[in-house]
Each structure stands twice: as C-alpha cells, then as structure tokens.
C-alpha cells in the first residue's frame, strides 16, 4: 500500500481507499502480517499500522508495549510535555449529535472577553502552564477570524507555545495567525467513515471534504505542528484510525517541516446522552496507542484528562509525549471553577504539580517549556 506518488491532495489518496475495501483488508490480516509489522518498527507504512490495530494483533499486546516504550524513550528521552486547554467559548453553529456544545442543547452560551481571558491566563500561569491549547466551538467564518485574531493576540505574549483546536479555517487565516505566533493547530476529522453525514447534519461541519483538506491548508500555511485524530466511538476505531495513519503518512512526506501530533479522544457521556455505537475498551485503546508509536516513532502522542488516573499513570510511560493536567473544559472554568458548562467530563482532576510527582515516580520529567515564542514570528529579528 504505497502512497501513489504525484497525488495533489489527500482527497485523491482518500478516494483510493474505500471504507468497505479496508474492512475486507482488515478481516484478512494474519499473524504473519502482525509479526512483519513488529519486525520493522518505524516503517511509516499504513498497511503495517492496519495489522497492528487488527484483532489479530491483540495477543501481541505485551510485545507491542515493550517495543513502544523503547522507541519512545529513544526518540523523546525521559520527558513528557505539559499543556492545558484554554476554552474561550461554548457558542457553536453546529449540531454534532455527540457534543456537549451542540447548538441543539439549551445552555448558557459564553464567549470570553479580554478581561475574562486574562483571568484565565493568570490561573494557568500560576499552575505553571507554558503551553496552551485554545479551544472554541464553531463560529461563522468571519466571526472566527475576528475573534481568534484578537484572542491569540491577548494570549500569545503570556505563553511559550500557543496552539488551537477550533473549526477548520482558510489557509490565509492560518497564515495570519501563525505570523502572530500561533504554534500549532489540532483539527480532528471525527470520523473518516460513511457515517460522517449522520453525525454532522447541520452547519459548516457538514462539509466533510473542507475538513479533510484542513491539514493540507495548514501545511501550506507553514504551521509548526498539526494534530490529527478521530473521535473514538463514532465508527469502527480500527478503520477510522487507519485513515489517520494514512493521512499522517501523506502529510509527513509533503509537509516535511511540520510536526505531527495524534490524539485519541474517546467518547464520554455528554449532555445529550449520546451513547457511542462503537465504544472502545481500555485494552483496545492501549493497542491503538502502541500501534501509532510502532508505526512512526516520531509522532507526538497526546493523552488528555478524558482518561482516568489509573489509565494515564500506566499508559504515559509506554508511548505518550504530551499530557494535559488540571484541565477545565468550560469557558472561564479556571477562574470560576464553580460554574459547570463543560464540553466533556474530566476523569483526571490532578494538577500539573501532582502529575509532575506521578511522572517522577516513573523516572520521567514533566517539561513545561519547550519552545521559544519568538521562533516562527513573521519577522523574528524585530521581536
């Protein structure tokens, strides 16, 4: 399954890999395929990834864990990076059936103003956070441009690294925001499968291909880091994650200066009581994370506070390179912890300081700062 050379967009590659064909390929995986994949870690070959996430690979879990841990230490050393999400708004024009911010849900909508954002920044800085991930619901395109431009200018001067997880934007917006010091952009496809339209019935998010081409626009705009992923539980996680690997492989060859980060959010109960058709068990999530590491040792793998302390304590040393801690997923939640309007429930309430001690006991250092904010500005010599 070599990527066709000369493809001008990921859409072309995507169309060469129909969901049903992949399901058939997945069903045909043999133990020999798994063993071959294990014998060439870091191959970057999506076919190897498919073998590693297949049910046939389940008995190899212990071997995968040992290999993944070794690759992670060699590539990233004994360090794990810290970030915290900074939710700015729960307004949303979409009606995603699984999300706590869906506009169908009757809840107070907030968009933080400068003063409120500064109150959040103060709390985050006191927690020792230097890398933040700005999160909002989806706005109209014009409102997104105006608000995010302003918000990044309030936030950027206070942190070593600012990334964001917001709606897909045009390339020109990514370019402007990068010049303002935006470091990375996470944009998850949610699902690459045929049920996408079912989950995203209204709003701009209906447009599957606009979202699919987002990493392409990010690459063109020259952002330092981009995040890929799917929302685990919406559809068959093995197939969906295969497309993430395929996408990663395409992006790395074409936009070779960009760092890639993968997340694996599992669906949790949100206010609409959405229950996923394809829940992912702990054992399966472990298999998936290990498969990513063995597929490509350079991938940054992030694990959020959606997961429990028990799961995080044991999983971080095996493959993870960045974690959040002390997170609040409601806008204004750091400065006003008593108001609960969160997007999803937090399972791990431990603070960065506590996480630092937990990692220490596994021989790992929690790194809070790994960027010089002047790098990548439009005119660094004037910084």
């Amino acid at each position: 399954m070599n990527l066709q050379t000369g493809a001008t967009s990921f859409t072309q590659i995507f169309e060469q890999h129909p969901w049903a064909d992949l399901a058939a390929q997945l069903a045909a995986i043999t133990p020999a395929d798994v063993e071959q994949a294990l014998s060439r870690p870091g191959s970057g070959n999506p076919k190897d990834f498919l073998a590693l996430v297949s049910p046939v690979a389940a008995p190899y879990l212990e071997q995968m864990a040992a290999l993944s841990q070794q690759l992670t230490r060699k590539r990233f050393g004994k360090t794990v990076q810290l970030y915290a999400p900074l939710y700015l708004s729960n307004e949303c024009i979409n009606s995603c059936s699984y999300c706590g911010f869906s506009k169908e849900i009757d809840l107070p909508r907030i968009r933080l103003n400068r003063e409120q954002v500064e109150a959040e920044i103060k709390v985050l800085k006191a927690m020792g956070v230097e890398h933040v991930l700005v999160v909002t619901g989806d706005f109209s395109e014009t409102q997104a441009r105006e608000y995010l431009t302003e918000a990044i200018s309030w936030i950027q001067p206070h942190f070593a690294q600012v990334s964001m997880e917001v709606q897909p934007l045009p390339e020109s917006d990514y370019r402007c925001l990068s010049e303002q010091g935006l470091h990375g952009v996470m944009c998850y496809q949610e699902t690459y499968g045929p049920r996408y339209a079912e989950f995203h019935k209204k709003g701009k998010k209906k447009d599957f291909f606009w979202r699919l081409e987002t990493p392409e626009r990010l690459g063109q705009a020259g952002v330092h880091k981009m995040g890929l992923g799917v929302l685990l539980g919406l559809d068959d996680w093995r197939l969906d994650s295969f497309y993430v690997a395929l996408h990663a492989s395409y992006i790395q060859k074409k936009y070779w200066q960009t760092r890639l980060s993968i997340s694996f959010p599992r669906l949790r109960p949100a206010k609409m009581g959405f229950s996923p058709d394809h829940p992912v068990s702990d054992r399966e999530l472990v298999q998936l994370i290990l498969a990513y590491r063995i597929f490509d040792e350079n991938l940054e793998l992030a694990l959020s506070t959606r997961e429990s302390p028990h799961f995080r304590n044991h999983m971080i040393p095996l493959a993870i390179t960045s974690i959040s801690a002390g997170s609040k997923t409601d806008p204004g939640g750091y400065a006003n912890p008593e108001v609960a309007l969160e997007q999803f429930e937090i399972n791990d309430e431990r603070s960065p300081k506590e996480m630092e001690r937990v990692l220490q006991s596994s021989g790992l250092e929690l790194v809070t700062r790994d960027w010089e904010p002047h790098f990548g500005l439009s005119n660094p010599t004037e910084a």
């Binding site: 050393g77 070779w256 021989g363 790994d370 010089e372 790098f375 660094p380």
Partner: protein
C-alpha cells in the same frame, strides 16, 4: 595532563561535551554532568525562560567548571537562529552558540544553506559559532571561511545511537580541517565515542546515550573514560591495519637466490 583542546582561545581539559535534553529529571542531569567531567554543556534556548534568571534548568546545569553552550534547536531559518543566539547571549551572558538549524522535525538534519548564512552573520557580530552539520568536508571549508570556531559534523542522525555511520566523510573532515572537529549526534555507546577519538576527532558531544541510560551518571563516567582512552590511543599512533598476513617465507625471497 597537557593535552588541551582549544576553541576560540578557550582551553578545555575534557574532550566530552554533553547535551542536556531527554533526562528524566534535572537532578539526574546534574549528576551526569558531574560524572562526565565535561566542561562544555549545551542547553536548548527553548527549554528555559530567558527572562527568568532563576530558571531551574539553567541553575542545575550551572556547575563549577562547566561552561554553557546555548543551542538554537527549534529554529528553521538563519534569521531565527540569529535571534536565538542574541536571546541566549542576553540571558546566559555568553557569546558562544551551538548553531542548530534543522527544519525537519523528524530526523533533525541540518539545513546547510541557512547554517552558512547564520554562521557568517553571527561571526560578524562577534559570536563564537559552533555549527551542527552533516559530515560534508567541502561544507566544513565553507564554514571555516564564514568564521566558524569549530565544526560539529554528525556521526549519524540525532538520537539514533547508530554510531559513526558517516565515518568515511568524518575521516576526510578531520584530515583537512583547520578548525577543531567535534563529532556530534548519533554516538550511542562509549566504544563509538572512543572510535571517534581514535580517528582523531578533537572532541565528541553526547546526549541521548547518557540521558536515556538506566543509570545516566555511570554512563557519563563510561563515556568520560572512553573519550580519554580513544584520545590516548590516537596520540599513541595506532599501528597500521594490515589486510594480509606477512608470509614467514617472503614471496620475493627468490631474488636472494
């Protein structure tokens, strides 16, 4: 010991330079630095806050007899590298800089065009520039003209522990260079460090192999001894490697008949 290494007029007894990334704690890093006997230790500008003079990372690296060598890891262009060197100069009060420009985030391989530009500019500004580069002998000559204080060719990609995969080119660089040659990156075992020193390298820089070891301080000691052994071996002039055995009855002895 009178065998001193001199770079830009500064002398070093130790020929082992240490990188400070990837350690499990600042304490382990500090112990490894002490055990290595290193007098020159790199520190990534992006890992500390240049505006915070009591930054914990900086204070742990700063030990008596240890000089700091800020590196520009993370920059993608010459302009960013020049800025990084200036920021480091202000906060660490040194005009030394290890120039690393690797726009590729996976193999961390150096961009020579940008490296040359940055070396020229920083040398003009009075910096002592030690550029991290591919093992390219001709490029080393270009850096000499550009004003570099030493060259730091890679043995293999950073963190790969593959040893001296560029050995043939390193030998040419060592033979031809007018600048000190510091083999940087890829050295995964003490024996590989010894090999670089036997080859005639002036020093080696090691990070991952020490940081990721189960006992970093012991590994640092092992590297210290290996570097010393390799250096002494080089100075003692290794015997030539022979490809054929010397026949006890010479093949040309018939000439004596």
């Amino acid at each position: 010991m009178n065998d001193l290494l001199t770079i830009a007029g500064k002398t070093f007894e130790s020929r082992l330079f240490l990188g400070t990334g990837k350690f499990g704690s600042n304490q382990l890093m500090a112990q490894a630095i002490a055990a290595s006997g290193s007098e020159l230790v790199t520190l990534a500008l992006k890992r500390f806050d240049p505006e915070n003079r009591s930054d914990i990372m900086v204070s742990q690296v700063s030990q008596p007899g240890v000089n700091l060598l800020p590196n520009t890891s993370g920059v993608r262009t010459a302009a960013e590298a020049v800025l990084a060197a200036k920021l480091a100069q202000q906060s660490l009060e040194t005009n030394w800089v290890k120039l690393e420009i690797h726009p590729d985030p996976r193999y961390l391989l150096p961009d020579h065009q940008e490296t040359l530009k940055a070396t020229e500019e920083l040398a003009k500004l009075g910096f002592v520039v030690l550029p991290y580069i591919n093992a390219d002998p001709v490029f080393c000559k270009a850096l000499e003209s550009a004003g570099a204080a030493a060259v730091m060719p890679l043995g293999a990609p950073i963190g790969s522990n593959q040893g001296l995969s560029s050995a043939t080119m390193l030998e040419i660089i060592i033979r031809e260079s007018n600048l000190p040659v510091v083999v940087d990156a890829g050295i995964g075992t003490p024996s590989q460090a010894a090999q670089a020193m036997e080859m005639g390298a002036d020093a080696v820089l090691v990070n991952t192999a020490i940081a990721v070891a189960e006992d970093p301080a012991q590994m640092a000691l092992a590297f210290k001894l290996a570097v010393q052994a390799g250096r002494i071996g080089y100075q003692a002039k290794l015997g030539a490697v022979k490809n054929v055995a010397e026949a006890s009855s010479p093949l040309t002895s018939f000439l004596e008949d």
